[in-house]
């Protein structure tokens, strides 16, 4: 008696991640709330009052209050940070510590189901956290356009533009030795120099041009345009295309490194 054929799909792998999420959604949601509250209060209100008084609202901030300028930038930056977290230790753990991927690989699931399943879950996490972030922004009065409801989607794309290549890289690692170096010297500089806290035009031209290449700058520009309703134009399509291209490349790379690691 031959059993009914199983059609493997990423959906079956996503169910696992959602089950684990059900275990700790309260804590993770609380973090999603607290982190923007802290940042917006400290930098938006605290630092912002100084900046607004000093610069006189918006000479270089495109006519925006500092809080309105900063909040959408942090939305994208926060998505990047969360996505990097989700694509480093949990991915190495899937191969090495918890061996979740190894368990899945023994079932009908294929390498691409395992990979896309986890990516889908990461996208879900980042999107959810970004919507929570937007809610906090609104509560702070830092949202001035109805288009802002699209900003969390763009933030999530920005996050996944980091998560997919990061996961591809992590799948080649034996241990977590390089992770803190990566966060400290690759991700953190992007957080600081990609137009979240000030326009990149304030930087020397070389640094400004480097900033244009970082996915987070594109995410920041999109989120800021949508949340403030200023500069909503064809430029956004370019940002979108750039992020989507990075996600596709990251996924292709991850597909290779995951397959090699799982079936070595």
């Amino acid at each position: 008696m031959a059993p009914a054929p199983v059609i493997p799909s990423p959906k079956l792998a996503v169910e696992y991640w959602l089950l684990t999420y059900r275990r700790n959604w309260k804590g993770s949601l609380l973090t999603s709330f607290l982190s923007p509250i802290l940042f917006l209060a400290a930098m938006g209100l605290g630092l912002g009052s100084l900046v607004d008084a000093e610069v006189g609202s918006g000479r270089d901030l495109g006519g925006l209050d500092y809080l309105d300028f900063l909040a959408p930038g942090l939305l994208a930056g926060n998505a990047m940070m969360l996505a990097v977290n989700e694509s480093t230790y949990p991915v190495l753990g899937g191969f090495k510590w918890y061996r979740t991927y190894v368990a899945m690989a023994a079932s009908p699931l294929r390498s691409r189901d395992i990979l896309l399943g986890h990516f889908t879950y990461m996208a879900f996490r980042v999107t959810l956290a970004s919507f929570v972030f937007l809610g906090v922004m609104a509560a702070f009065g830092a949202v001035s356009s109805p288009l802002a409801v699209l900003a969390p989607i763009c933030a999530a794309l920005c996050g996944m533009a980091f998560a997919t290549p990061t996961a591809a890289f992590v799948a080649t690692r034996i241990n977590a030795d390089n992770f803190s170096t990566y966060t400290r010297f690759v991700i953190m500089p992007m957080f600081l120099f990609s137009g979240i806290f000030y326009p990149v035009s304030q930087l020397p031209i070389v640094l400004e041009q480097i900033a244009w290449l970082t996915p987070v700058w594109h995410g920041v520009r999109m989120c800021r345009a949508l949340s403030t309703g200023t500069g909503v134009n064809w430029e956004l399509a370019g940002h979108l295309a750039y992020l989507v291209a990075l996600i596709l490349i990251g996924t292709l790379l991850a597909s290779r490194t995951f397959t090699r690691r799982l079936y070595e």
Binding site: Y16, T20, Y98, A103, A106, P108
Partner: protein, 315 residues
């Protein structure tokens, strides 16, 4: 037709040949074992059978299919108990079974009764809603076995099923595997414990350095490669003291009857093993050979392995 068949199956990692051209067949309903020390190539072979590692050479057919082209279809019909537990420690016992069943796209309506049945089978019903993390090693192993059975597989693959368990936990696992065997579940297992191989396997191959060095039932292997009994002579001194005395004894014994006293001797660091069909007769003639202790026992697969490779299974 065999459920699993391999011809010249080879696995290479760079310059290292882990599995070096092995042939074997596994029939429906039997328990088939790969016995060998660590590094013999057992786990690499298991990974190829489990369709998570492509052979570097030779041919492999599982359930009549080619694993490199129909891996997903084959894996649907296999149950895998890996060497290293990979249960989800944060989830409950029952959730581990549920989520694994979902990888096989089994609906909740099928899974619910099956989980209850399997938990009963591995004696974990009371722990159904507990986290996995605090369970004992033996319980985790049993849960992993239950998980492998969630899809009602035609073949169960067990990679070192009792390594790291205490003796009592091992016996519980063995007893469960016995029950599965009686139900007709085909099992393929690897082990470096000769007692496990003797207890569980209908047929086994002995592996050493990537090659199969012998094949048969445990009984056949012992008959072919060992004697009925073994006399173990232990000493605290240099083992050469014993072997010298034995040589003198052997020369004399030959002189008396023309029959050697024993067929063969193996020298280990702390003891000498004498292979014979009549242990007591050897003991009676030991004379000036004075070991610390003498033990007559029946031959085991350990002796087979020692004879075939000149080395012990577990060092």
């Amino acid at each position: 037709m065999s459920l699993i068949a391999a011809w010249g199956l080879t696995k290479r990692f760079g310059d290292f040949t882990a599995v070096d051209g092995i042939d074997f067949e596994v029939e429906r309903g039997e328990v088939f074992g790969f016995l060998g020390p660590n590094g013999a190539g057992k786990s690499s072979t298991m990974r190829m059978i489990g369709c998570v590692s492509d052979p570097s050479g030779g041919a492999l057919r599982i359930l009549g299919m080619d694993p490199s082209r129909e891996g997903t279809k084959i894996r649907t019909r296999l149950g895998v108990v890996p060497q290293q537990d990979n249960l989800d420690e944060e989830l409950s016992v029952a959730e581990n079974l549920y989520v694994y069943g979902r990888y096989f796209d089994l609906p909740r309506s099928v899974l619910r009764p099956r989980i209850a049945e399997l938990l009963d089978f591995v004696q974990l019903t009371e722990r159904a809603n507990d986290h996995v993390e605090p369970l004992s090693g033996g319980m985790k192993r049993r849960l992993t076995i239950a998980r492998a059975l969630i899809s009602e597989p035609e073949v169960l693959l067990l990679d070192e099923p009792t390594t790291g368990l205490d003796p009592q936990a091992r016996h519980v696992v063995w007893e469960r595997l016995w029950t599965l065997k009686r139900r007709g579940v085909t099992q393929v297992l690897t082990t470096h414990y000769m007692d496990e191989a003797e207890q569980l396997c209908d047929r086994l191959v002995v592996m050493d350095r990537g090659k199969i060095v012998a094949e048969g039932s445990p009984r056949q292997l012992i008959e072919r490669y060992s004697t009925r009994e073994v006399v173990e002579l232990r000493t605290h001194d240099q083992v050469t003291v014993l072997t010298d005395a034995l040589r003198r004894l052997g020369e004399r014994a030959d002189g008396y009857s023309g029959d050697p006293l024993y067929e063969r001797a193996e020298e280990l660091p702390d003891r000498v093993l004498l292979y014979t069909d009549h242990g007591e007769r050897v003991v009676a003639h030991l004379g000036e050979v004075k070991p610390e202790s003498v033990l007559v026992r029946r031959s085991t697969l350990e002796d087979v392995f020692l004879h075939l490779t000149g080395r012990s299974l577990v060092d």
